[in-house]
Symmetry: C2
Subunit: 419 residues, 2 copies
Amino acid sequence: MSMNNTELEALCKRAKAASYRLLSLSSEEKNNVLIKAAELLVSEAKDIIKANEKDIENAHAKGMSDALTDRLRLDEKRIEAMAEGLRQVAGLPDPLNEDEELYERPNGLKIYKVRVPLGVIGIIYESRPNVTADAFALTFKAGNAVILKGGSDAINSNSAICDILKKALSECGTEPSAVELIRSTDRETTKAFMQMREYVDVLIPRGSGRLIKSVLENSRIPVIETGAGNCHIYLDEKADEDTAVSVTVNAKTQRLGTCNTAESLVVHRAVLDTVFPKVAAALREKGVTLYEDEEALKAFPDAEPATDEDFYTEYLDLKMSVKTVSDVDEAISHINSHSTHHSEAIITADEAVAEKFLRDVDSACVYHNVSTRFTDGFEFGFGAEIGISTQKLHARGPMGLKALTSCKYRIKGNGQVRG
Amino acid sequence: MSMNNTELEALCKRAKAASYRLLSLSSEEKNNVLIKAAELLVSEAKDIIKANEKDIENAHAKGMSDALTDRLRLDEKRIEAMAEGLRQVAGLPDPLNEDEELYERPNGLKIYKVRVPLGVIGIIYESRPNVTADAFALTFKAGNAVILKGGSDAINSNSAICDILKKALSECGTEPSAVELIRSTDRETTKAFMQMREYVDVLIPRGSGRLIKSVLENSRIPVIETGAGNCHIYLDEKADEDTAVSVTVNAKTQRLGTCNTAESLVVHRAVLDTVFPKVAAALREKGVTLYEDEEALKAFPDAEPATDEDFYTEYLDLKMSVKTVSDVDEAISHINSHSTHHSEAIITADEAVAEKFLRDVDSACVYHNVSTRFTDGFEFGFGAEIGISTQKLHARGPMGLKALTSCKYRIKGNGQVRG
């Protein structure tokens, strides 16, 4: 399906108008919508599965791999998991009720800083259709309207889910335009969408590095950069061997395809012949191929030589680069110039060196003697997560509900004028 | 002077490297630099004035208006004011020491959320050379390196000021590259600068609406949109006449050229023949020309007819548009679709109507019975201000030192891995 610019603008306008009307909703009204949507997802699961079957057929016809087709597939269990996600978000505290501040000025002005929704949030994502329900739940709970642009592979599933979300909104007497799905699958529509700064307050891309790069390059709407993780583990001079082995193996192999998976090992020269070979052997045992610089190759030769590009690569695979350094300063400098500023860890028993590393590594999450795999909204106790921000503006690291809000000032007086 | 891309990239790299080294500075060390810079500005005022004279000569040769030439001019008094600005920023609390949070997780992880600098901030601004010192003071106090791109009219003055700031940094044993000035005056360099996302964390344009629009359109670096203010005053059905007159006259005429100056009057039909003519007459007395819709013209005919464009115009002049509405909902909807989301005010004695207006008007600062002229970091008690954000991402309204920071997570453990 294609969509012309007038239709697209009308859709964005509807979402904007809805976002204004959402301002008057109470927490209870919002939670009722989420609970109703969960009910309807389960009671109308058959319609979703029917729509999903079309997507699966199209995927087979296109020769999509089994792994990707599996990510696309919905069954009753997966739909129940989506519904449970909605119920959980309903149970979280309302971020709009948090941290109001009052400044009273000598001239009698009362300045209230209050938390407000961002307004309209655009989410551009790839194949998993469960994002449709998840993204709606989080953005709506924070008081926003959301415009979804999912991958073309999941268009039928996404449409069916979006129809159910709209039905839940209507049945609760709320704006069905609080969720809009761009049902056009051509790239021109996506590009046109990214120009709608007048109606869309922020754009969050969720998916591959290529998707995120394309959004950053084409969007005129402010973007929150998420996701890509070229994460490092630094084995310091004073690294404890057992910690080094268990943390590195966990960070690299516990789940290969996630953004907080470690991709590069940085080794202090002093442990190149002691701790490093133990870590390398444990990684080899798990099937990891190491891409090593010259010095590391001498210390542990069961590996491939690293190219410069390896040190910039997020493998998402059984592969890890290895770089030798002469001290923590060189480690920090190597990480700052090669990482995607997501998550990095130091393994050391030296508190002073650890403090330096935690301070000077320019990433959202920096760990001391802990696996990078913990960078996650649930693990941090935030209750939910719309993504991991790798930029410094607005939100950094795991983004919970508060990252989907802004603030404003309400000022009360009795005729004050400026002299 | 022109600058090729290699030179520009080298400059950005120097600033990035400096920003990492600034992470180890104490508050005292930063304040010492600011105080030293204030000293040097005063003791080397003659050099600045000599450079400024070149700019003034060039301005005369170009036929610049007297008003603009005056904005460009520096004398000992203005230089002392710049120095005083630096001393004041030295006296403000360090934003990096604020609001650290600790989350302790059941698995023993200690997650510290700490405030950190943004890194490298780019500031693109127009003619006033005092911005060079002001922007350095604020960004540096928050721990950032800054890259300045001033207007070509002030290039000699800006260069002289930047040299002094660098000297202050050097004399205090700090990185002179904590401040860099792009001394090239051609537009291609500015465009190339806006692509340097790898080195620059955020770009803040300060100046005319045209400048800001151009930055928004061309930047690949995240931008904080500041400044433009098409601000509204709404005279409600229950507006008190004296408050209506004094607040509107103050908001429109107290200082014409500022972004928080009111540009549009929205009038409830019920007060079109009562309160409105009094307000209009008081504005006429101050020399304001009103651009009115048809109904308002009947009620107060000493005016011009408004075009649709008038309602989108930030006049920065003795002009004000007037729109008639039938209730507060229409007023809110008119404001939300025409304003730049900066500052708006309602004049009413009706608390319930005021609450609705304060909640539903989608602007950074919304006032009840107060002049919009108070939107200002100093008036809000923030001690300093880098600009007024009119976007919702990262910062909104007057931006103090905290708006020039980000956060990061430092996580300490003892070998935790994810299961």
